[in-house]
């Protein structure tokens, strides 16, 4: 039985509201940052920096927040924006980064 963590993690989401988008059978990423966010989250859980379920709880919460925010300027749905928010939250909860570090880096990367 094939039990690669990566396959397990993604399979465990199928049938649930947080399952990643696919195109013609395979995972699809609209841009490089989506692919990076996906890979980093799986790697951190695989290497034991947090439990996959901790990340999923944050992902489900992020998706729930988006769904509840029914304002006239609710942005278009992008699955990997929720993924990114969940990844940041999980990293902060597990002490892998501080809010200040992430903010400073993001500003630098955007400059």
């Amino acid at each position: 039985m094939l039990t690669q963590f990566e396959q397990y993690a993604v399979t465990s989401m199928m049938g649930a509201g947080d399952t990643p988008p696919r195109a013609n059978g395979t995972l699809c990423f609209a841009s490089e940052w989506e692919r990076s966010a996906f890979g980093v989250a799986l790697a951190l859980a695989r290497d034991g920096h947090f439990e996959w379920e901790d990340f999923r709880r944050n992902l489900i919460a992020a998706i729930g927040d988006w769904e509840r925010a029914e304002t006239s300027h609710t942005p278009d749905w992008n699955y990997y924006e929720q993924w990114l928010a969940a990844l940041e939250a999980t990293m902060l909860q597990h002490g892998l980064a501080t809010p200040e570090e992430l903010a400073a880096r993001t500003d630098a990367a955007a400059a």
Partner: protein
């Protein structure tokens, strides 16, 4: 992390910056390294390479009579092929049956046992194929499951679900993609994916 981006166009740029920021921070801290993302994605992106099932499907695409024989008696038709490794029809291959997608019909293969995947034809099974949730949902609501796989089957198209068992192991002959008229058999084989032979995807011209 900041709200200084005012316009929707900036959402992409902001997300890209956030992803880049956290990845570079984790690399700098030695928590991951520069190749970590690629290593993870390789698990999902690795092409199976030319696998036996692809050669069988490509033959069926170029030779309608072979396709008929394949649907009528898969092991006998496969035995005609000389460029497959020995043992293809043996072991788990011996009870193979083929179903062909076509106008108005899409086939999906599931498996309620764990050992009945046609290994010699398809290679290693994707993990989800063995997942009990996938199997039971695919039997109950195949269109919803296919949609989750990113495959929208038109409502006019009938979805047939084939449950492999110890007695019969099903595989799908996907439709030949449009625009491939001039392609050779080996070029065609490169368009066939394991997913398309299980019916959770279609074969596309590259």
């Amino acid at each position: 992390m900041t709200d200084r981006f005012q316009y929707p166009n900036d959402r992409e740029a902001r997300s890209a910056a956030r992803a880049k920021a956290l990845e570079s921070l984790l690399i700098e801290k030695g928590i991951i390294n520069a190749t970590t993302v690629d290593t993870v994605l390789k698990v999902f992106e690795t092409k199976m390479g030319p696998f036996n099932g692809a050669k069988i499907v490509a033959r069926a695409w170029v030779d309608p009579a072979f396709k008929q024989r394949l649907v009528a008696d898969a092991p006998a038709a496969i035995a005609e092929m000389t460029d497959l490794p020995e043992g293809m029809a043996g072991a788990e291959g011996e009870h193979m049956r083929a179903v062909a997608n076509g106008e108005g019909v899409h086939n999906l293969v599931i498996c309620t046992l764990c050992s009945c995947y046609p290994w010699p034809v398809l290679g290693l099974p994707p993990y989800w194929y063995k997942d009990p949730t996938f199997r039971s949902r695919a039997a109950r609501e195949p269109r919803a499951v296919l949609k989750e796989f990113g495959l929208d089957v038109p409502s006019a198209t009938e979805v047939k679900v084939w449950d492999s068992s110890a007695q019969i192991r099903w595989f799908v002959i996907p439709e030949r993609p449009a625009g491939t008229e001039g392609m050779s058999e080996s070029e065609l084989a490169a368009l066939v994916t394991p997913e398309s032979m299980m019916g959770v995807a279609v074969a596309n011209a590259a």
